[in-house]
């Protein structure tokens, strides 16, 4: 098979699987649907892995080609095409691997669900959409994939569409994302206007020529075109990757079944924004204003969303706020021009966060779909595989040396420290403080769930057991990279230039150059990790958590009362939800009602049309007395013709 056929098969296999499982759901049945979709995604993973092997181990030339022309007009070619370089290859492997694991896991998790086939159809469709997004070689296809993953996310958050909370959450997710897409679309329009193309390579080539240009948008203020473009595009990323203040949809997305929380709302889709900025690094390098903006947004998200995680009681929501916080870390890396570190954290996070979500799901199965950690405790004895893998994921999350998360998170912190950019001071503080916070909520979750005495009611507890192998196998398979992938790949990916064909950092900007001077191999780096302040901070968080949740549970309640104000602010999530609910949604609906009633009904119909309508009313009532039904309407037809003719002749004669 030639390489282009293989590349085409990678997204098309899951698309075909989705069509079969979805449209022929009755014909293929439950087993048929999971067989087809899992084979499709497994095939897609195998081919992606093969492609990645080619890209990373051979003398690979970047492939950039058109699959088909979407439309050609006005001197612009809109196309669907693939750009296969190291960044694409990495993303393809991560996406298909996590997707594969989640597919297998779903067999166990959705076992009794009446929508079984539909679910498999959706997650296969998601895999297709996500692959199209990461393989794109142009902005049009990026936008396609972007919205398509949004669609599937919408369908999956609302998968249990009978639940009011689920269908509220999916509407919210879609609309908040549309708010981000609003920026993205304007950014794309600006790219086309100033660079004359939507093709990445052509845009990158044209970008330096645009760097000095300005445009006036708001009042008389002149904006750098590049800053405008980069910030608009990043607003799109803020929606998709849930950065403050467009983050509000992600915690609610937990209404969806847990497998998709792992796949879509932790490992892959939500990282699309991070991926996009990294992909567009040649543009972002031209605007340090945009990078500062990104740095600050990321820092706010990393710290403040993590804090909310501390007060959550729903196990999935803890992991969700953790995801927000980690996405913030990735964004911080982007803002520090450490794009490859962001991608590196994206990858390690995909493994350990998918692991944590699936672990949470395994707990939820055992608890008969109860998610409140206050009703758990001591589950480690009942479900050892889930508990051990959750520990592995948690250690990676807090950045314990040698785990995958250690390498990626430590390098983000190092990068911010050396970044010379407005906002770097605040970002440095935020990522350091975030380490304590991460350790706090992570270990709180571990202890409340797996340790201490059981708070579960006897009925549920008597049925609780370790999950079946289709659930635990993916946990184990994800635990392996959560432990080792960082140690294995940190050197080639970040210091060996493996991503250099995709990521472009301006000379003097690259924080990895500084860090690389002190980097002497992964093992040395990890050993040194035990002696850094970061490690100390993480241990501080762990210690506080251990003390409170393992030894002195009563302190938690005391603290909550002592720090009532802080607790309330965190519990209310800083009021973002209320703001959107009351001001944006409520205000929008009020405005809609006002326009509809006052504008259309009163002003236009009432005042303007009313006069003429009355005239015709009088006119037609006379007609009505002599005619009925058909005749009445024919009369009107005749009147039109007659009046027209009269007009014509009067005017022509005159």
């Amino acid at each position: 098979m030639d390489i282009k056929t293989i590349l085409l098969l990678i997204p098309l296999l899951p698309l075909a699987g989705s069509a079969i499982a979805g449209l022929l759901r009755h014909q293929v049945g439950r087993a048929g649907s999971h067989t087809v979709t899992i084979l499709a995604v497994a095939g897609s993973f195998a081919l992606s892995a093969w492609v990645a092997l080619q890209v990373f181990t051979t003398d690979w030339q970047v492939l950039n080609y058109t699959v088909y022309e979407w439309a050609v007009l006005d001197g612009i070619t809109f196309e669907v095409g693939f750009l296969i370089d190291s960044l694409t290859a990495l993303m393809m492997v991560v996406v298909t691997f996590v997707s594969f694991m989640v597919h297998v896991y779903t067999i166990g998790y959705m076992k009794d669900d009446p929508g079984y086939q539909r679910f498999f159809s959706y997650i296969n469709l998601f895999t297709f959409a996500m692959l199209m997004l990461v393989m794109a070689n142009n902005f049009l296809q990026l936008f396609f994939g972007w919205e398509a993953v949004g669609l599937v996310s919408y369908l999956l958050i609302g998968f249990w569409f009978k639940k009011e909370s689920a269908v509220r959450a999916n509407l919210k997710a879609f609309l908040v994302n549309r708010g981000g897409d609003f920026g993205l679309l304007l950014g794309v329009a600006a790219v086309l206007m100033y660079m004359g193309s939507l093709d990445y390579s052509e845009v990158f080539a044209a970008a330096p020529g645009v760097a000095g240009q300005t445009m006036s948008v708001f009042g008389g203020v002149e904006w750098s075109v590049m800053t405008f473009i980069c910030i608009c595009l990043f607003i799109g990323a803020m929606g998709k990757s849930a950065q403050v203040p467009l983050h509000v949809w992600l915690p609610d997305s937990m209404e969806g079944p847990t497998p998709i929380s792992a796949l879509i709302h932790a490992a892959t889709m939500v990282t699309a924004g991070i991926f996009m900025v990294a992909r567009l690094s040649p543009l972002y390098e031209l605007s340090s204003t945009a990078l500062s903006f990104i740095l600050i947004i990321g820092a706010i998200t990393a710290l403040f969303m993590g804090l909310i995680g501390i007060v959550q009681n729903d196990i999935k929501r803890v992991v969700a706020y953790s995801t927000l916080s980690q996405l913030g870390y990735m964004t911080v890396a982007l803002g520090a021009s450490a794009y490859s570190v962001a991608i590196f954290h994206l990858m390690t996070h995909a493994f350990f966060k998918a692991l944590l979500f699936l672990g949470a799901g395994s707990v939820i199965i055992a608890m008969h779909h109860k998610q409140d950690m206050r009703e758990m405790g001591g589950l480690g004895r009942i479900m050892p595989i889930t508990a051990i893998t959750a520990w592995i994921g948690s250690l990676a999350l807090i950045g314990f040396p040698f785990t995958s998360g250690f390498f990626s998170k430590d390098l983000i912190i190092e990068s911010v420290k050396v970044a010379d950019r407005t906002g770097a001071g605040f970002a440095t503080f935020a990522v350091y403080a975030g380490v304590v916070v991460t350790a706090l909520y992570t270990f709180r979750m571990l202890y409340l769930t797996f340790h201490g005495s059981s708070r579960t009611d006897a009925e549920t507890l008597s049925h609780a057991q370790e999950s079946p192998w289709v659930v635990t196998l993916p946990l184990i398979l994800l635990a392996i990279p959560s432990l080792f992938i960082g140690w294995l790949t940190v050197e080639p990916l970040l210091f060996g230039g493996a991503l250099s064909d995709a990521i472009n950092v301006a000379p003097g900007h690259d924080p990895l150059v500084h860090i690389g001077e002190h980097f002497h191999g992964a093992t040395a780096f990890a050993l040194h990790g035990f002696m850094t302040p970061v490690f100390g901070l993480a241990m501080l968080g762990v210690a506080i958590s251990t003390w409170i949740y393992l030894f002195q549970p009563s302190i938690a309640e005391t603290l909550k009362q002592r720090l009532h104000l802080v607790w309330t602010i965190l519990d209310r999530k800083y009021g973002f939800d209320e703001f959107y609910q009351r001001v944006v949604a409520g205000g929008g609906l009020k405005l809609a009602g006002f326009f509809s009633e006052r504008g259309d009904r009163t002003l236009i119909d009432g005042w303007i049309v009313h006069g003429s309508a009355r005239l015709v009313g009088a006119f037609s009532s006379r007609l009505r007395s002599v005619q009925t039904g058909f005749l009445y309407h024919y009369a009107f037809a005749m009147i039109i013709g007659l009046v027209a003719l009269v007009f014509a002749f009067v005017l022509l004669k005159g």
Binding site: Y68, E69, W70, A71, V72, L73, D74, G75, I76, F144, W146, E147, A148, L151, L155, F161, K162, E164, V167, L171, F174, L175, R178, D181, F182, L185, L186, V188, A189, L192, M193, G196, G588, L589, L591, A592, G593, F595, S596, G599, I604, D605, I608, V609, S612, A613, V616, G617, S620, G629, H633, F636, A637, I640, V643, A644, F647, A648, L651, L652
Partner: protein
């Protein structure tokens, strides 16, 4: 191509009209025959249209398949037909929509043959209007097609149909009078009703402004543009499903087509002077009407307002040229905008038609258009829910569906004209998704809301057919708009050339 040799356009126009008139006289007892004949004629017209598409030369902006015979020689009025890349797609849309409404109207009980006949006649008249190259012939078709539409709403409509019909009549008639006066004035200037002659006729700026305004009133009512839009929701609410489908899918396009065939090329300098007005009204339509749609409680009313908002993209795209030239000094982007407007019209034909059909599917079963009468329909009609979600997603401009293509192109072009045009136009991303998906949530999601919903049966074979056809079209145009754009582009490029040169008499 052999299609060149016979009067294919006349066949497309008159075959449905003649068959339709014949069917009108069939008695109630022969309803089955009426339906069969209607379907045969509609399909035949569609096949003829597809032949015309197949034989159409995509490389030229010239009028093709022309037919010309003197009609009223005293005023040098000709029976002159022909198509280019602007009109042929709309004729194809007309023919396709006709087949769909005939199938969709299969279960009509009352005066079946007359119902079918009215739709066929309407279809032929609309095709004739799109194909007319003589302004008077255009006007005759333009007015004549109101008759079958009045009948459709007035006879098979809802309880308030008389009111809706009068309102519809008043608005349209009010507008078309101005057009007639304008056409006659142009005739007196040029001695010709030939559209091509009027395009070349030099006119002073003042004259162009008056002509432009006269045409604008006529076409703005048809589109409809804010603030002459309020007839549309009333007409839709009272019209039977088939009537709504034709109204939304084809009749609204007449306004856009009129602007692109008459207003822009006949009075380009007038258009350049008043483009701010059209652009302003278009943006009001997109944003203000988007909000109004959000407040609707009646499904059909909501879809009607959504139509107005989406047609705002068509009118916006058509009038960006002058602002682009002013802002950038080049015409790059003008073709993108006008082509986007044309694509938007075709796409809106599919999507609005599909949404009204979806509304009809529910109305046929529950006899209510109120959104609050439903809830949890996806429980009892899963396949129908799938189609509905697709169509409402397409309505909110989801990439991969046809709804994205035109809006995307128009927004890209609008950005070249002025950042704020693009800014307000792009608000449809949020507004369109809000009213479309909120409707989906309230109607389709949630627990089964009441006994009516509990008793719903999923789509039957006939409904499936219609939904599948439209779904395929919506996806095909979204995933590969290339052929349609290839057909439209030469004519649009030609138009941009024409309107960027002044016509003011030196």
């Amino acid at each position: 191509m052999s299609a060149m040799n016979w009067p294919i356009l006349s066949l497309i126009v008159w075959l449905p009209i003649v068959t339709g008139v014949a069917i009108l006289f069939l008695s109630e007892s022969r309803a089955a025959m009426g339906k069969a004949l209607a379907l045969a004629a509609a399909v035949a017209a569609l096949v003829l249209t597809l032949l015309a598409v197949a034989g159409f030369d995509m490389t030229t902006a010239a009028m093709q398949f022309q037919e010309k015979t003197p009609w009223i020689e005293a005023f040098s009025i000709n029976y002159h037909l022909g198509v280019d890349g602007l009109s042929l797609p709309l004729i194809a849309l007309t023919a396709l929509t006709t087949v769909i409404v005939v199938i969709a109207g299969w279960t009509i009980k009352d005066r079946v043959s007359q119902y079918m006949g009215a739709f066929l006649i309407l279809s032929g008249l609309m095709s004739g209007m799109f194909a007319a190259l003589d302004a008077m012939l255009f006007y005759v078709f333009f007015e004549a097609m109101l008759v079958p539409m009045f009948l459709i709403i007035g006879i098979w409509g809802g309880p308030n149909r008389i009111f809706a019909t009068i309102k519809f009549f008043l608005f349209t008639f009010f507008g078309s009078v101005f057009m007639l006066v304008g056409l006659i004035w142009l005739y007196l200037q040029s001695g010709s009703f030939a559209v091509a002659d009027l395009h070349q006729l030099p006119l002073s700026l003042t004259a162009q402004i008056w002509i432009f305004l006269a045409f604008l009133i006529a076409f703005a009512v048809k589109v409809p543009m804010w603030p002459v839009h309020t007839w549309l929701p009333d007409a839709h609410v009272e019209a039977p499903t088939g009537g709504s489908v034709v109204l939304a899918a084809v009749m609204l396009k007449i306004g856009g087509y009129g602007l692109v065939r008459f207003s822009l090329p006949i009075a380009p300098d007038g258009a350049a002077a008043l483009d701010w007005l059209v652009i302003g009204l278009s943006l009001v339509a997109i944003v203000y009407i988007g909000f109004v749609a959000l407040a609707q409680r009646d499904m059909k009313r909501l879809i009607a307002y959504s139509s107005i908002s989406h047609m705002g993209f068509a009118t916006l795209g058509l009038f960006l040229t002058f602002a682009i030239v002013q802002n950038t000094g080049q015409t790059d982007g003008a073709v993108l905008g006008i082509s986007g407007a044309m694509v938007q019209m075709i796409s809106h034909g599919f999507i609005s038609g599909a949404m009204f059909l979806a509304g009809g599917v529910l109305y046929d079963r529950v006899h209510s258009r109120e959104i609050s009468a439903y809830g949890g329909v996806a429980n009892t009609m899963p396949w129908f829910a799938m189609f509905a979600v697709l169509f409402f997603m397409a309505n909110s401009g989801l990439p991969g569906t046809s709804g994205f293509v035109g809006e995307f192109m128009v927004i890209l072009a609008a950005f070249k004209a002025d950042f704020w045009f693009a800014f307000f136009a792009a608000m449809t991303l949020i507004l369109g998704a809000s009213y479309s998906l909120w409707l989906v949530k309230r109607v389709f999601y949630g627990e089964v809301a009441n006994d009516n919903v509990a008793g719903l049966s999923d789509l039957d074979g006939r409904e499936w057919t219609v939904m599948v056809v439209l779904a395929i079209l919506v996806l095909a145009l979204g995933l590969w708009p290339y052929p349609l754009i290839e057909m439209i582009e030469p004519s649009v490029a030609n138009l941009v050339d024409h309107i960027t040169n002044t016509k003011i008499n030196p």
